[in-house]
Amino acid sequence: MTVASQVKQCVASLKNVEATLNSLAIRSENEQAEEAFRDACQTTRRVLADIEKRVGELEFEEPQYKGF
């Protein structure tokens, strides 16, 4: 497995985490829990943006692995 595909897999997992956290934040009745989930969701989104940028750089360096 190339580095690019490993990083892409990580991006997919992060997206999953972000979506699950978001859904938990919406479903939580407790304010404290909702706050924690929402905060975690935002942090994950920031991390995700960073990693996606890196995926772009990798694709630029190794264009033969572009796409999925």
């Binding site: 990580c10 997992s13 956290l21 939580s28 407790n30 404290q32 989930f37 942090t43 990693i51 890196r54």
Partner: protein
């Protein structure tokens, strides 16, 4: 009027009075009644019994008796609610029998409580060694309430400085295979949501004996068919492990790359994910 008919009428009236009296009694377990209340209840019962079958007693006598024996204890209860002094007189107060780990022999003697009985009561509270007790009170009901020393008390999350997720009471949404709409809407869900959740775990609603939703929107069910296995909720453990995996991946990337800029970016984000993990793991247990 034949005698048997009078017995029927008297008994019926006595039953009605008994029903009214028991309605008036406040919810209190029998074991917590004071001696005074207990005896007045017995006397009332005796008056009702004699009044309903002893035809030689004129009907006015038992009725007078019931009024006095019913009203006076009621009045005394009411007075004891109003006045602390009267309450102490009527119900008495708890008497300390162990203080700072030492048995107070004088108080034991006053209450005619032998050391054997004290040990027996302590054992029933799961205390087998007197030295483990910080404080114990002999309650008016004859029970002993025990405060163990701090290091013999059960461990709580607070002792461990552990953060735990707050919980609220779960709501029962399915009973005997039928959806209860009111509790479902109280927690902000509807039938469609419930159908989707049931579909997820792959059971038909007719097969569900009891279904409950916790405060995080997680549905747990008990089925009529006990041979069927219900998958335990997977969402939270799965999320936790995915976050852990992402965090480990990012650390691995940081180690693997030669690009300094990328290295720093990966390391920073690995730290961020670690923070996320620490923050939400109490809510995912």
């Amino acid at each position: 009027m034949p005698g048997w008919f009078e017995v029927v009428i008297r008994s019926a009236v006595a039953l009605v009075i008994l029903l009214l009296l028991s309605k008036g009694i406040i919810r209190k377990p029998l074991a917590q009644m004071t001696y005074f209340e207990f005896v007045s209840a017995i006397v009332l019962a005796a008056i009702l019994a004699i009044g309903s079958i002893n035809l030689q007693v004129p009907i006015a006598y038992p009725i007078m008796g019931i009024i006095i024996w019913g009203a006076v204890p009621y009045l005394m209860e009411w007075l004891s609610m109003k006045s602390l002094r009267f309450r102490n007189f009527l119900h008495g107060r708890g008497i300390p029998v162990i203080k700072d780990g030492k048995i107070l022999e004088d108080n034991l003697k006053k209450q005619r409580l032998s050391s054997d009985e004290l040990l027996k009561s302590l054992r029933s509270k799961n205390v087998f060694q007197v030295a483990d007790v910080e404080f114990a009170v002999l309650e008016t009901s004859g029970d002993i309430s025990v405060l163990p020393k701090k290091d013999y008390q059960p461990l709580t999350p607070k002792d461990l400085n552990l953060k735990v997720a707050p919980i609220k009471e779960p709501e029962t949404v399915i009973m005997d295979g039928k959806v209860l709409d009111e509790p479902l809407s109280t927690i902000g869900y509807n039938r469609q949501w419930l159908e989707v959740e049931l579909e997820k775990i792959g059971v038909a609603i007719e097969n569900v004996y009891l279904g409950q939703v916790d405060s995080y929107g997680q549905l747990t069910v008990d089925l009529f068919d006990d041979k069927l296995k219900v998958p335990s909720p997977q969402e939270k453990p799965l999320l936790l492990s995915t976050i852990k995996k992402c965090q480990a991946d990012l650390e691995a990337f940081a180690l693997a790359t030669d690009n300094q800029e990328a290295k720093q970016m990966y390391a920073k984000n690995a730290k961020e994910m670690d923070r996320v993990l620490k923050k939400i793991s109490p809510y995912l247990q």
